[in-house]
């Protein structure tokens, strides 16, 4: 294979951290670790053959490198070719036709803004995904009314995630029927439940989960952990340029304040006095959108930086890494 080129599949991208690199597989949604030297070699591998790549190394080292390459080939991260120019790199642009792509609406028993009005405004903004987070138990008819309203809209809202407080009067079967009735509801998580439960609809992304964790307000969010990592093209390319949590997001907190995130302190206005459209076009509101990981201390040296969802709500100062992240890229360890 010496006179061939080794080429990573375009969907497998190297992210160099301080001490090691990750090879992120955007197609199969996974990643592996790579030593930095191997990552360096792979980054030059378009223009030089495997023999040329290893020529500067001792026989022993060259053998180790070949073993590594064979491992990448065997696991389908890379392939050997005679014509590297036929296999261009993946275009890493991210763009969207929608001014707002996702929203969070928080609600509890003291909230009194009109959810349906907020939904109408989001639809006008082109928002495709809404997360509703209800901190208190609401009856089934309230849920039905809200979802029926979304379903009767102009069809811009394409997926809905529900985070609901456990209500002993609503059965699992009712929730399952609800998901069947409103296919846009892709995920229902019942928090503060007496027991855990996990149901994934066969052959689809829809899920119903019960979790015992008690969630009473917005401070439950913002944890960073490998189980929340996302290795996909949309998320990765967006993270390269933009904030991986807040880009094109708008949030209405339980009091009706319009924010970048319900857990952030700064309010840009209230749904009672101003429109989401107006707020979402303010430069101040959009400022945080462009806060990508390369601008954030510590994160910029982390090998997980384009897979992990940032948090700007819980931070000591503007450019700090998320306070709820326990990973240290300089020691490669989780505290």
């Amino acid at each position: 294979m010496g006179n061939k080129y080794i080429r990573l599949f375009a969907c497998c991208l190297i992210v160099k951290g301080n001490r090691r690199a990750t090879l992120v597989d955007l197609q199969r949604g996974d990643f592996i670790f790579l030593p930095l030297q191997i990552a360096e070699l792979l980054l030059q591998s378009n223009s030089v053959t495997v023999a040329q790549l290893t020529s500067a190394y001792s026989e022993e080292d060259a053998g180790e490198i070949s073993k590594y390459f064979d491992h990448l080939i065997k696991n389908e991260y890379a392939f050997y070719t005679d014509e590297p120019e036929s296999f261009p790199l993946l275009c890493l642009d991210w763009k969207t036709p929608n001014h707002i792509t996702n929203a969070i609406i928080d609600y509890d028993r003291n909230s009194f803004f009109n959810i349906r009005d907020v939904v109408n405004q989001l639809e006008q903004l082109g928002c495709a995904t809404i997360q509703f987070r209800f901190y208190d138990a609401f009856d089934f008819s309230f849920l039905m009314q809200t979802l029926t309203h979304v379903a009767d809209g102009i069809g811009k809202i394409r997926s809905i995630e529900l985070s609901l407080c456990y209500n002993p009067l609503i059965s699992k079967l009712q929730y399952l029927k609800l998901i069947n009735l409103f296919p846009r509801v892709i995920s229902v998580v019942i928090h503060s439940a007496p027991d855990g439960y996990d149901y994934k609809f066969p052959g689809s992304i829809h899920e119903l989960r019960y979790i015992q964790q008690k969630i009473t307000n917005e401070t439950h969010c913002g944890f960073i952990s490998p189980e929340y990592f996302r290795a996909n093209k949309y998320f990765f390319t967006e993270s390269l340029q933009f904030n991986s949590c807040l880009n094109r997001k708008i949030a209405v907190d339980k009091t009706g304040d319009i924010k970048n995130c319900p857990a952030m302190k700064h309010s840009f206005g209230s749904v009672f006095s101003t429109s989401l459209l107006e707020i979402s076009h303010q430069p101040d509101f959009q400022k945080v959108w462009s806060m990508n990981k390369d601008k954030i201390e510590v994160c910029k040296d982390c090998e997980f930086r384009y897979m992990c969802t940032d948090c700007r709500a819980f931070i000591p100062d503007e450019y700090s890494k998320p306070a709820k992240c326990k990973y240290d890229p300089y020691t490669m360890s989780w505290a």
Partner: protein, 327 residues
């Protein structure tokens, strides 16, 4: 008054995404899902001595400047057809189906001022054999093929090919049957002696082609003379070796962007011109010996499966193509 008409089907996600971009560029359009044309729209075609006028709702079809034929609806599953099912051994539904086809034909030719993205008439007049002939004329390599109803002919053809051969449907790949007993009609490898032990001397004319030892499969989305190519590494997986559509969902085939050689690009442009198409999804194979072999074009092919893995933003490019055609 919208100047762009989109003919598509209910629930087509690719149409939704392209429409998002039309909204972004702030152009007016009318979407019609052909499957609910008869149930949810009012159509009228009035013809008299000196005038004819085809209207859909409040629009005259002759006023549309651009028509995008994205997808045809499935008339078979419309309410009307389901009601007529099994009546008089399906003679009624067969009649209705012909009537419907005649109506769609009348609709198609009523867009007198329109520039098309994917001209319906070109689509309807292009079968697999014509595609192969035109491709070859345009300088593209094609698989050696025989369509025959005769066992002897088939045996001789397999002998001539020496290597492996495949059989594939002349029209479309289909899956049918009952939920318990499904039959998948798709390209299948033939054993060397397949026709020797075949009982019948005559059968329904069938398409036999030489089997190509794949290096990679290519799926090319063509739009207004541009090619957006994707390589599919289907030969890495036994399950997808003959046809990548035997998807392996657990470990999907590698889909990556690909640069076509210039000569192939030129021939593809030439072929599409012969076929009267300004868009389509082209299937090709690059063989282990370095041949680029044309298999077929699907004028209304899915572009999402190329756009997404290669990050080509084809949805936006289609929207811009429609907008360009307005001017």
């Amino acid at each position: 008054m919208p100047m762009i008409l989109i003919l598509t089907a209910h629930g087509d996600h690719s149409t939704d995404q392209t429409i998002d971009w039309l909204n972004y560029y702030n152009v007016q359009y009318q979407r019609i899902n052909i499957d609910d044309l008869l149930a949810n729209h009012t159509v009228a075609y009035s013809i008299d001595h000196n005038h004819s006028e085809f209207t859909i709702d409040q629009h005259q079809t002759s006023d549309f400047k651009v028509v995008w034929f994205r997808k045809s609806g499935v008339f078979r599953s419309s309410d009307l057809m389901l009601q007529s099912k099994n009546i008089l051994s399906d003679q009624l539904s067969s009649f209705l189906s012909f009537e419907y086809t005649a109506f769609i034909q009348a609709l198609t030719i009523s867009f007198t001022k329109a520039k098309w993205l994917c001209n319906i008439e070109a689509v309807n007049s292009l079968d697999k054999t014509k595609q192969l002939i035109l491709a070859s004329k345009a300088g593209l390599d094609i698989p050696e093929s025989l369509i025959t109803n005769d066992r002897k002919q088939a045996i001789a053809f397999l002998q001539k090919l020496k290597g492996k051969s495949i059989i594939k449907p002349l029209a479309e790949s289909e899956i049918f049957g009952t939920p318990e007993n499904k039959y998948s009609i798709s390209p299948k490898l033939l054993s060397k002696d397949f026709f020797r032990y075949f009982k019948r001397k005559k059968f329904l004319p069938s398409l036999i082609q030489e089997y190509l030892e794949k290096d990679i499969e290519l799926r090319i989305f063509y739009l207004d003379s541009e090619c957006y190519a994707m390589a599919i590494f289907s030969q890495l997986d036994e399950q997808t070796k003959v046809d990548y559509r035997n998807y392996n969902f657990k470990k999907p085939n590698r889909f990556v962007p690909y640069n076509l050689p210039k000569t192939i690009l030129k021939s593809i442009q030439c072929f599409m011109e012969y076929a009267g198409l300004n868009t389509g999804s082209i299937d090709m194979i690059k063989t282990k010996s370095g041949r680029f072999v044309f298999l077929e074009v699907n004028p209304k092919g899915q572009y999402d499966m190329v756009s997404n893995p290669c990050n080509y933003f084809l949805e936006e490019k289609i929207a811009l193509s429609l907008i360009n055609k307005l001017n």
